[in-house]
């Protein structure tokens, strides 16, 4: 029997050059109409956290402040994620158009693309796209300008409030929330900060209407999603797929036939073992049967030749290095998790020490200041739980 493949979509990367028409069309509509379209489309943040985009814009639009900002978060730092790079390379105008509409709605005159430091090579072509876009805005008499702000390589600066701190010339450390960015973001002004892919999706929604987007996906997870597929796969790369697929289908299409685990959502995501492939759905948490896993797009496939101890060790190494060091659970917790798994592996600590570490990971999840520290538990617990013998022997 011929396997039914996952549907490949071509919304984001479709080479459409009707920015002017789309902007004109959208600008003619009322702010409420546009926001309602976004809300009814079901679009949620594609960076991984999944906040409803329309609501975010609405909240910022309701702030009564003269100066506001739109920021495109292009600090794509999650291990195994490389889709924003591709979107910015091939369809930057869609991202820019999304920013311009957002600016119009919330009342911002200034936008920034916070570009990951390692993506320096993208800067020239991005500047060219911005220049072209500025000319278009001038023709349309739209008062909005976009600047590139280059990050310096810290993973934590992808966290929105750390990103603001970094842009303000301070140390990239997450802030206390509230206040949230829509009330007090960059320079303490109301700020909409959206992931690259999120902004690109708004372009499609403005063009085709919310229904087409909503028709894709399931329940709380609507539309398509760009995935970065890597690891033990014969076909690594970037794929736009419908949200809500089962992991089994994904593995059938992309793995090498020997997949023992898939890490969904990068180092800060979850590890799903083979036995749970068919019970796992890729999408935001909702009323799904089985487990639903959100992802910023990273899908790392591991086959049976891989040591999951090494995989976990690698992630922990990463967190130990990339924690900003500000809050106790993350700064010290990451070090203890790393040293702890090493000690168990070397036999310096009994295997029961893993239970203590699992408790620690849970404590980190509920006490850490930002998403980084909170999500270390995701990979740690899912790997230790499912591959315990590999941690010990």
């Amino acid at each position: 029997m011929k396997k039914k493949h996952l549907q490949r979509l071509d919304l984001i990367f479709k080479n459409e050059h009707d920015t002017e028409a789309i902007l004109e069309k959208t600008f003619k509509r009322s702010n409420d109409d546009v926001i309602n379209d976004l809300i009814s489309s079901g679009l949620k943040g594609r960076g991984g956290a999944g906040f409803p985009t329309g609501l975010k814009w609405k909240l910022a639009s309701e702030e009564e402040t003269e100066v506001k900002y739109v920021i495109c978060n292009a600090d794509e730092g999650e291990p195994g994620t490389f889709k924003d790079r591709e979107i910015l390379s091939s369809v930057p105008h869609k991202v820019l158009a999304g920013m311009a509409v957002c600016a119009r709605i919330i009342g911002a005159k200034k936008g920034f693309i916070y570009l990951r430091g390692e993506y320096l090579f993208l800067k020239p072509q991005l500047l060219e796209a911005i220049d072209k876009f500025h000319s278009l805005l001038d023709e349309m008499k739209v008062d909005f300008r976009v600047e590139i702000f280059l990050g310096s390589g810290a993973y934590i600066c992808g966290e929105e409030s750390a990103l603001f701190e970094s842009m303000e010339g301070k140390r990239g450390e997450p802030r206390n929330k509230p206040p949230f960015p829509t009330a007090q973001g960059y320079k303490d002004k109301p700020t909409v900060i959206n992931n690259v892919e999120t902004l690109a999706h708004t372009y499609s929604i403005f063009k085709y209407g919310p229904e087409k987007f909503r028709d894709l996906g399931i329940q709380d997870s609507r539309g398509s999603k760009v995935f970065s597929v890597s690891g033990d796969t014969p076909v690594p790369g970037i794929y736009e797929l419908e949200f809500g697929m089962s992991l089994q289908k994904f593995v059938d299409d992309f793995a090498d036939g020997d997949a023992k685990a898939v890490q969904v959502g990068g180092a800060s995501g979850f590890c799903v073992p083979r036995k749970r492939f068919d019970k796992t759905v890729i999408g935001y948490q909702g009323k799904l049967r089985g487990t639903s896993l959100p992802t910023g797009g990273s899908m790392m496939i591991f086959n049976s030749s891989r040591s999951m101890y090494n995989v976990l060790h690698n992630y922990l190494d990463f967190f130990v290095e990339e924690s900003c060091g500000q809050c106790t659970p993350c700064r010290v917790g990451t070090q203890q998790l790393l040293l702890g798994v090493e000690a168990v592996k070397k036999g310096e600590q009994p295997s029961s020490y893993l239970d203590k570490l699992m408790d620690l990971a849970e404590a980190m999840r509920i006490t850490a200041k930002c998403g980084l520290g909170q999500s270390v538990a995701n990979s740690f617990s899912s790997i230790v739980e499912n591959f315990k013998e590999e941690m010990i022997y």
Binding site: A154, I156, R171, E173, N176, P178, F319, V320, E321, E322, S323, C324, G325, Q326, C327, T328, P329, R331, V332, G333, T334, Q335, Q336, L339, G340, A343, K356, D359, L360, A363, R365, I366, T367, A368, K369, Q374
Partner: protein, 596 residues
């Protein structure tokens, strides 16, 4: 008026202003939530995660210090989830802290120690990170010791140095496992812009930042038969020492302090207040002389405004940050150093002790005084004028070591010759005190009348406001001061170095015209000094301030120029203010320093 919010904490209803935090709401109903990075003098950091509480219906815990209250909120401060998470956090902190408590200066006074005794971090803790880190101790400074192995990264010191003092000597460096509190290029504290104010020490919850102690040296001197040990006590010590010895905040313990010092074996128990009075005579005359040179002689080389020079933290600050204004700083030495110079000259001769056999000790509310005593300029007697400087805390420890029951000591009195003082000297310990003392004297010198304020209390320069200004109109002057007839003397008082910076920037930018500026490096003045008992807060500083002004009001002599011992030392030794002997012993100069 702010709107009121209703919430429940541990099932107790609270009604509190909108914008308050959960921590504040809990405090209102006397529920104590443990904190560590939180300090009421500083902005909220929310980084230690000790004060986490549970909000009913929410999966993750929330930091009570940083989370504003909202209507209908239900908070649990002692649920199983909260207790277990807090214990984990404390365990983690202990694992990155060199927990050699029995060897630590802060033993018994450490907030992490308190927390770990409350949350019983048992034997089965996490892996000790200390052996993996290769820490070294920075003990090059004469004032401050920085031991990173005891640091728990709460950043109170960083916030103190950057916000409260606006110095930036301490900042966060690196990230992740390497994150630490560091200085410019990781240089020792001695080589950076650190003013030695010690405010970071006052707020450090552990033993990571402490003063360099000298009580061992002082004990040896006291136990040496050959040595005559002279001690001076700063104004702000007598209203704070009690706190460190179990007495209430704001208790005046002058008499007990003197008695304790005698019991410890000091040969001469004298008072910095005496030289505080002397400072007023020298500095007051310097001000009048500068005014004369500018107003009458048109001498453009003379600089105004004149600023005070008693606070060594302020002096080092201006040397770093505004070196172009060093000529504006009064050349008068601080009371500590005037005392030191006179102790080994005038006083030594009086009591027939060879200066080389004299050990000069001071007890100060200050850590910068240790640095000041070490400055090469401070050897006018031909010896080190002040050999060792003890903080209020160190003296409290010595009193404990000696087994003295401080609170039951009978009151005693300072020795004479350099032990008498006026109320004007006592108020040196509070922000605005030097200004008030100077005005009490200068006004009278010029007009022949007392300052025109009820009971001599110049309330305009008192209090905890960031920057205070007062203008005094001078009328009906004595003939020799006719050039000041009708003049308005404009004064300014600032405390805390961030306020000092504001004032100096205003002066630099021509936005403020003052004749005389008093600046103290520490919040509240010396009473909030870096050597004072821990903890500190605005409420504590206000209590101490109240005690200082009470001590002033009780003094029979309230004006520096009426101190009989001061009058006597001019007659017998110094001859005249700003005279030859004064220049030799009581005045100094300053050094331009790097801005980083």
């Amino acid at each position: 008026m702010a709107e009121k919010i209703n919430l429940k904490i541990d099932n107790i209803a609270v009604n509190i202003d909108e914008g308050s935090t959960i921590l504040e709401a809990a405090q209102k109903i006397n529920i104590r939530i443990p904190t560590l990075c939180y300090h009421e003098d500083l902005c909220v950091a929310g980084n230690c995660r000790v004060c986490m509480v549970e909000q009913v219906g929410s999966d993750r815990l929330i930091p009570s210090c940083a989370m504003p209250v909202s209507e209908g909120m239900e908070i649990m401060t002692n649920s199983l989830k909260v207790r277990s998470a807090r214990k984990q956090v404390v365990e983690l902190l202990v694992s990155e802290h060199r927990a050699e408590c029995t060897r630590c200066y802060k033993n018994g006074k450490c907030e992490l120690q308190d927390l770990s005794s409350e949350y019983i971090v048992g034997e089965n803790g996490y892996i000790d990170l200390i052996p993996l880190k290769g820490y070294s101790i920075d003990n090059f400074s004469p004032s401050i010791i920085k031991d990173d192995s005891k640091c728990i990264r709460c950043q109170r010191c960083v916030r103190t140095c950057n916000e409260l003092q606006n110095i930036g000597a301490l900042s966060v460096a690196y990230k992740g496992e390497h994150m630490k509190i560091s200085s410019f290029y990781e240089k020792p504290m001695y080589e950076v812009v650190c003013t030695n104010c010690g405010q970071c020490i006052n707020r450090c919850p552990t033993g990571a930042l402490t003063e360099k102690t000298y009580f061992d040296e002082v004990w040896s001197a006291l136990n040496s038969e050959k040595k005559h040990v002279v001690v001076q006590t700063a104004p702000a010590v007598r209203i704070a020492l009690g706190e460190a010895l179990g007495m209430p905040v704001g208790e005046i313990v002058t008499g007990k302090l003197v008695a304790a010092l005698r019991r410890l074996g000091f040969n001469s128990v004298l008072d910095t207040d005496f030289t505080a009075d002397l400072t007023i005579i020298e500095e007051g005359n310097e001000l009048l002389q500068r005014l004369k040179k500018v107003l009458v002689d048109g001498d453009t080389s003379v600089k105004l405004p004149l600023t005070t020079s008693c606070s060594p933290g302020w002096v080092k600050f201006i040397e770093h940050a505004f070196p172009e204004y060093l000529e504006n700083v009064s050349t008068a030495k601080s009371p500590q150093q005037m005392f030191g110079a006179l102790a080994k000259t005038f006083y030594a001769k009086k009591i027939g002790v060879e200066p080389e056999n004299m050990v000069s000790i001071s007890v100060m509310p200050c850590t910068a005084k240790k640095y000041e005593a070490d400055r090469p300029e401070m050897r006018s007697s031909g010896y080190k004028d002040v050999d060792y400087v003890l903080t209020t805390r160190e003296l409290a420890l010595m009193i404990k070591q000696a087994g003295i029951d401080f609170s039951s000591l009978p009151d005693d009195e300072y020795d004479s010759i350099m032990g008498e003082s006026s109320g004007a000297a006592v108020i040196f310990g509070a922000t605005g005190g030097v200004m008030e003392a100077a005005l009490r004297t200068a006004y009278e010198v010029v007009t022949g009348r007392e300052v025109p304020f009820k009971n001599l209390n110049i309330t305009a320069v008192r209090g905890m406001e960031d920057v205070k200004e007062a203008t005094i109109k001078i009328e009906n002057v004595l003939p020799e001061w006719s050039f000041l007839e009708g003049a308005e003397l404009k004064t300014c008082v600032a405390h805390g170095l961030s306020n000092a910076k504001k004032v100096m920037e205003a002066v630099r930018d021509g936005k403020a015209e003052y004749h005389f500026i008093e600046i103290m490096a520490c919040p509240g003045g010396c009473l909030g000094g870096g050597g004072q008992p821990i903890p500190t807060s605005l409420a504590i500083r206000k209590q101490r301030s109240k005690a200082i002004y009470e001590e002033d009001s009780l003094k029979p002599i309230r004006k520096s120029h009426e101190n009989p011992e001061v009058i006597h030392i001019y007659e017998e030794f110094l001859k005249e203010p700003l005279g030859e002997k004064s220049h030799e012993l009581l005045h100094t100069h300053y050094t331009k320093r790097n801005r980083y």
